[in-house]
């Protein structure tokens, strides 16, 4: 059986009000509207498409975080994942990709997944490393920024997005951990039947000890706006002359 894990993260929605908590290291959780990380949603859809094209395939959604992340695990189950794993952690303290990857690698190791899919980065912290480090820790093939995937026996072919509009076609052996670029498919809506059926699917909870961490957020703040505007007055000729001066000496074009 082909086993696919999809790593999904719950992040503040782009339209959510963002107010900083009194601790100044995270958001005020009460006010945040959480959603499934955008590129993770594409990774989930990609996994479900692979499942539909493969005989005997299981998709498992895995999320790390406090109790609230069960909401997106259920959303994944409602869309068609077979079961869920909740890596239960009490705080938002663990923010460095290596520590997060170690937690995932430990939790996923015994499952022997053939494929791990995750979004290319999280919309809140945006490290863009977790999926790759997990692959390394589990001694899997790794690929990033996939814009298409195709299973072929014990291999997977992916098309990777490179800089400056270039693409690279890569073929690698399974097991593999691949990060998925947004936009490669059209994520489905969970149907009502799916939502009602998700209740019956298993969510395994593993309690995580969060003591190991290499990186801490020391201060979170909203960017302050500056009002440094210099008005250039005068006749058109004087304005042009002064503008050129600014371009040359201050902005250094």
């Amino acid at each position: 059986m082909m086993k696919i894990a999809v790593l999904i993260k719950q992040v503040p929605g782009s339209e959510s009000p963002l107010s900083i908590a009194d601790s100044n290291v995270w958001l005020d959780e009460e006010k945040v509207a959480y959603i499934m990380n955008e590129s993770d949603n594409y990774a989930l859809e990609e996994a479900l498409l692979l499942k539909e094209g493969t005989q005997d395939c299981e998709v498992v959604v895995v999320s790390l975080g406090p109790e609230r992340v069960k909401k997106i695990i259920r959303e994944g189950l409602a869309k068609g994942a077979d079961r869920g794993m909740h890596l239960n952690i009490n705080s938002n303290d663990v923010t460095d990709p290596l520590s997060i990857a170690k937690i995932f690698a430990d939790a996923l190791k015994s499952e022997n997944f053939d494929l791990i899919l995750s979004g290319l980065q999280s919309d809140d912290l945006g490290h863009g490393q977790t999926g790759i480090i997990i692959g390394e820790l589990l001694k899997m093939s790794t690929g990033s920024l996939a814009v298409s995937t195709k299973l072929d026996g014990d291999q997977i072919a992916i098309k990777q997005e490179m800089e400056a509009g270039f693409f690279q076609n890569v073929r690698m052996s399974l097991p593999a951990s691949i990060t998925i670029q947004s936009g490669l498919n059209t994520p489905r809506y969970p149907s009502l039947k799916g939502i009602m059926g998700a209740k019956k699917k298993e969510i395994k909870t593993l309690d995580i000890d969060s003591s190991d961490q290499k990186l801490k957020i020391s201060k979170l703040y909203l960017p302050s706006s500056s009002n440094e505007i210099t008005m250039i007055d005068g006749s058109p000729d004087q304005i042009v002359e002064n503008l050129v001066k600014v371009f040359k000496s201050e902005i250094k074009i």
Binding site: R74, S191, L192, I195
Partner: protein
């Protein structure tokens, strides 16, 4: 609720995780699939038929019916939330789903034979077949009991003659639930199929309300249907009226979706639109309007929510439905009008949804029991004196 609009009295806390996800799904669907299309269809007077299979796949039609009968087995709160989101898009979309679920699937589910249920409900729930509901006639709206459409037994068949007016989905429907009076004066329900000889539908043009919805007239000229097409398990006016109770329940939720959209559009506009030195939201006149809108939306939400809880407990009665339909239509009507006021001149264009909702609500205010009839129904219950002939 709170993710998608005002929830001043924390109804969100009372919703289950499934209900929240169902609302999110409906909201996403309307935002991504329907909203980009609505203005063009509204202007052209057409309905986006290509969305019907998607509505079916998602399970938005007859959702509260059991799975084996074409529904999705969701709670009435969830069903209400779906209609809330569909009507946030447009009354035409909500009306489509209401007719299919409450007026076509429900009567087959409640009064149909096993063969009829087996034949139709899954096809209707999945959107593969479309239905309509024929009760109202051109001269008989509030008093359907005086209908002129007749059915006459003829051996193993029935012969139907007459016509029906203001029929949502009429000309695009594969089947019609038609109510007709027999020779003894009993109202009976039939499932008529498109293409039956003597059965035709033509669209009503010139509507300036519910433009994103098909409205038709049905006519029956010696239409011959087998007795197996009759709904066997109901006789009398209570058949169609019980369907209307289902649909009116959904309207009480839908109206709050339309009102919420109007409120949000007006609020955003008021915060951004500057006149003189400050946004118009800073003026007391606008704040008074917003405070009234929010209060009335909250009132309507609570009524719709409690009505759904009563329905889930099977304790809801038709009088409570009359009150909620009447009240929430009036709220939505007032909120839409006030939203248009806040939008000023821009509010008369299709670029802002309130005037579209406002025009739609005029239909909803009058269909499924006029505001006046619901007033008299409540009046009768209060005084035990009927103001109209029963």
């Amino acid at each position: 609720m709170k993710e998608f609009g005002p929830d001043y009295y924390n109804i969100t806390e009372m919703l289950t995780e499934e209900e929240l996800l169902i609302q999110k799904t409906a909201n996403d669907f309307v935002l991504n699939e329907f909203k980009p299309l609505v203005n063009e269809h509204y202007e052209n007077g057409t309905f986006p038929k290509e969305l019907i299979p998607k509505l079916g796949d998602l399970g938005f039609m007859g959702s509260s019916l059991p799975v084996e009968f074409g529904g999705s087995g969701v709670s009435n709160v969830a069903y209400g939330l779906i209609l809330h989101e569909l009507e946030r898009g447009d009354s035409g979309l909500r009306s489509f789903a209401s007719v299919q679920g409450a007026l076509v699937m429900y009567p087959i589910y409640a009064y149909g034979s096993n063969d009829q249920k087996k034949k139709w409900l899954k096809l209707l729930g999945s959107g593969n077949k479309i239905g309509c509901f024929g009760l109202t006639e051109s001269n008989f709206g509030s008093n359907p009991g005086s209908m002129l459409t007749r059915c006459k037994k003829d051996g193993d068949n029935w012969i139907i003659n007459g016509s029906k007016m203001w029929i949502t989905n009429g000309s695009i429907a594969d089947i019609a639930i038609v109510w007709a009076r027999d020779e003894e004066g009993l109202v009976r329900g039939f499932i008529l199929e498109k293409g039956m000889e003597g059965f035709s539908a033509s669209d009503i043009h010139g509507k300036l309300s519910l433009r994103c919805s098909i409205t038709s007239e049905l006519s029956f000229e010696n239409v011959c249907v087998p007795d197996s097409s009759r709904l066997p398990n109901v006789e009398g006016l209570k058949g169609p009226l019980s369907c209307l109770t289902q649909a009116r329940f959904g309207i009480s939720w839908g109206m709050m979706g339309a009102a919420t959209d109007c409120y949000q559009v007006a609020l955003n506009y008021a915060k951004e639109r500057k006149q003189f030195s400050k946004p118009i939201a800073a003026y007391q006149l606008t704040q008074s309007k917003l405070a009234n809108m929010l209060t009335r939306i909250t009132e309507g939400q609570l009524m719709a929510y409690q009505l759904a809880k009563l329905k889930d407990d099977e304790r809801m009665n038709f009088l409570q439905v009359s009150m909620a339909k009447r009240n929430n239509c009036m709220i939505a009507r007032d909120v839409a009008k006030t939203a248009r006021e806040i939008l000023g001149g821009n509010g008369i264009t299709i670029d802002y949804s309130p005037i579209r909702h406002m025009a739609n609500i005029e239909s909803v205010f009058t269909y499924e029991g006029t505001h006046e009839m619901h007033t008299l129904i409540l009046g009768e219950d209060i005084t035990k004196i009927s103001a109209f002939d029963n």
